[in-house]
């Protein structure tokens, strides 16, 4: 039996829940509108880059390289290239959107509102996830122009792409929080993310590397993401797939907690 006070508390919680849902969906709609509004910066460049990769590495150089792990080079690199675009775009969306809001001071619109910080993080991360998935789909369509893609494990494909987009959206959020200028927004993607992605098994199997390089590669988190995703398509992975999912899940949780903590502290946004 519910008491009068209990009913009032429940009603207040329901109202609060609805307010939060409206707030969250407003951030998501705003982020989606931004992605679509600047489609020339968000959707077109990764499609062109992917086309060039498939043309040069897949069609021109690929046949000379021969098979890799029992698949044509084009089939082998396709999942890695899709994942590379997901990583770059989910990260880039959040870092540019949140830093832009900080720089233009309209982040204050959110900070003065009654939305809790965890919901603000979720809203921006949902934006990064949307762009990552949208660009991932576009690059997959480009890949289909060059090769046939067969999915072995749907769960691995969907799970890996979502978790990877979440991890890098959250990474972009941390970067945006600490960034004080536009140089610091591009520093991490240029000097850390790109090398890790290229060395994360997008273009080759780490079994081709000497022992010491294989061991070093295992410290690269992107290796696990690319391989978990490739496993979904080809049924082949250089690393343990269950360990790869554990790494992605742990990184998602740890980064989410870090983002909320930083926002609660006001790091980079409050004096």
């Amino acid at each position: 039996m519910t008491t009068g006070a209990g009913t009032a508390v429940n009603a207040r919680r329901e109202g609060e829940g609805e307010h939060r849902w409206v707030g969250f969906s407003t951030i998501v709609i705003r982020e989606f509108s931004r992605i679509i509004r600047i489609w020339g910066q968000t959707i077109v460049p990764p499609a062109i880059t992917a086309t060039l990769y498939f043309l040069i590495f897949g069609s021109l150089i690929g046949p000379r390289i021969g098979d890799m792990g029992g698949y044509s080079y084009m089939q082998y690199i396709a999942p890695g290239l899709i994942m590379m675009s997901v990583i770059t775009n989910s990260y880039g969306n959040v870092v540019s959107s949140f830093f832009g809001a900080k720089f233009g001071r309209h982040i204050e619109e959110l900070l003065v509102s009654p939305l809790p910080n965890w919901l603000i993080v979720l809203g921006y991360v949902a934006g990064g996830l949307m762009r990552g998935l949208l660009v991932g789909i576009v690059v997959t369509l480009v890949a289909l122009l060059f090769t046939r893609l067969h999915v072995e494990h749907w769960f691995a494909v969907v799970g890996a792409v979502i978790l990877t987009a979440l991890v890098f959206s959250l990474g972009g959020f941390v970067n945006a929080i600490f960034a004080k200028n536009f140089d610091q927004v591009t520093f991490i993607p240029t000097f850390i993310l790109t090398p890790l992605t290229y060395l994360g098994g997008v273009f080759y199997s780490i079994t081709m590397l000497p022992d010491w390089a294989q061991k070093l590669s295992q410290a690269n988190p992107i290796l696990y993401m690319v391989n978990a995703f490739r496993y979904g398509f080809l049924g082949h992975s250089d690393v343990s797939v269950s360990f790869a999912f554990t790494v992605m899940l742990a990184a998602t949780i740890a980064l989410f907690v870090l983002c909320v903590w930083l926002l609660d502290r006001g790091t980079g946004i409050r004096d």
């Binding site: 951030i27 309209h106 204050e108 619109e109 003065v112 009654p114 939305l115 409050r270």
Partner: protein, 316 residues
């Protein structure tokens, strides 16, 4: 219940600047309140803390009795803030900015659309609803920020120099709008450099300087503390010499203008009588400066320090 209570509110920035030094302040519900102070006095820091854009070092903030350390979301829901500097996305349309802000406060789109129309019409921005915000004039941008702060119909509205940089016509219409808003029950706190604005609109006042409240009370009581006022008199006759008015300090600024210093124990009738006796006809008269401006300058420069205790709340 006060709309806003500050208790021993302090802020020291990372660079060591002690912006607020333990201020206490109460603003009653329904009040139209002026928070004045020179640049760097701590006004914007105080507003930043109240709206949770600045982290306080110590002290308490209550918005309609809600402690921001305990019920932050509920406190924020009662509060609308118009900041000093433009802080909306200059690439978004006017109506989108308002719709988004309504969404952040949990207002559904259907209701939000009606409110957007209402506030844009009230602030004469309805024709600009589809304009990209960066194309608006300075005055329009200020009005857009007021509309945005009102979209969730807050009980307490804080305006940090809302009329800075806007022309006199827009400023007057903004005053009218704020008066109506206050009459409808919204508590308003205003910081401004136009002291005429504060004197015209506000019932209560606090003056903050170097992080401390140096004056606080009803506007009329505070103005009464002004010991002397200077009046400027325009005469019909051409004056060659300064007329002597016993007991008054008189200065001839040009051959048709006199400046007379009047203390609060003196009266104007004696001046007119003395001038009439000398055959001098006064055509017009005005205060040399705004009364509040006069008091403000004296307080801030410490000239009236002996006359004014730290808080006039006790005098209420």
């Amino acid at each position: 219940m006060p709309a806003l209570s500050l208790r021993q509110l302090s802020k020291t920035y990372g660079n060591g600047v002690h912006a607020l030094k333990g201020i206490d302040l109460d603003v009653e519900s329904g009040d139209f309140f002026a928070l004045l102070g020179p640049n760097g006095a701590g006004k914007t820091t105080a507003i930043g803390i109240i709206s949770s854009l600045v982290t306080k070092t110590s002290g308490k903030v209550f918005v309609f009795g809600r402690d921001i350390d305990v019920e932050l979301e509920a406190a924020k829901a009662c509060l609308g803030v118009v900041p000093q500097e433009i802080n909306f996305n200059q690439f978004e349309k006017v109506s989108t900015i308002l719709l988004n802000q309504a969404g952040f406060y949990g207002i559904r789109r259907r209701i939000a659309r009606a409110r957007v129309e209402r506030w844009l019409r009230e602030l004469a921005l309805w024709d600009k609803r589809d304009a990209v915000s960066r194309t608006l004039s300075g005055g329009m941008k200020r009005r857009l920020m007021i509309a945005r702060a009102l979209i969730h119909e807050p009980r307490l509205l804080i305006l940090d120099e809302p009329s800075a940089g806007v022309d006199i016509e827009i400023r007057r219409s903004m005053w009218e709008f704020l008066r109506r808003l206050n009459a409808d029950g919204t508590t308003i706190i205003l910081t401004t450099h136009y002291l005429e604005e504060a004197e015209t609109l506000c019932r209560n006042i606090a003056i903050i300087d170097e992080g401390r409240i140096i004056e606080h009370g009803r506007m009329s009581n505070v103005l009464r503390k002004l010991q002397t006022e200077i009046f400027v008199l325009n005469t019909r006759e051409t004056l060659d010499d300064t007329p002597q008015l016993p007991g008054y300090a008189v200065r001839l600024t040009d051959d048709h203008t006199l400046e007379v210093e009047v203390s609060k124990e003196q009266n104007l009738n004696d001046i007119f009588a003395a001038l009439t006796y000398r055959g001098i006809e006064v055509l017009s008269m005005r205060n040399k400066s705004n009364r509040l401006e006069e008091l403000f300058m004296r307080l801030v420069e410490g000239r009236d320090a002996a006359e004014t205790p730290a808080s006039a709340a006790a005098a209420e």
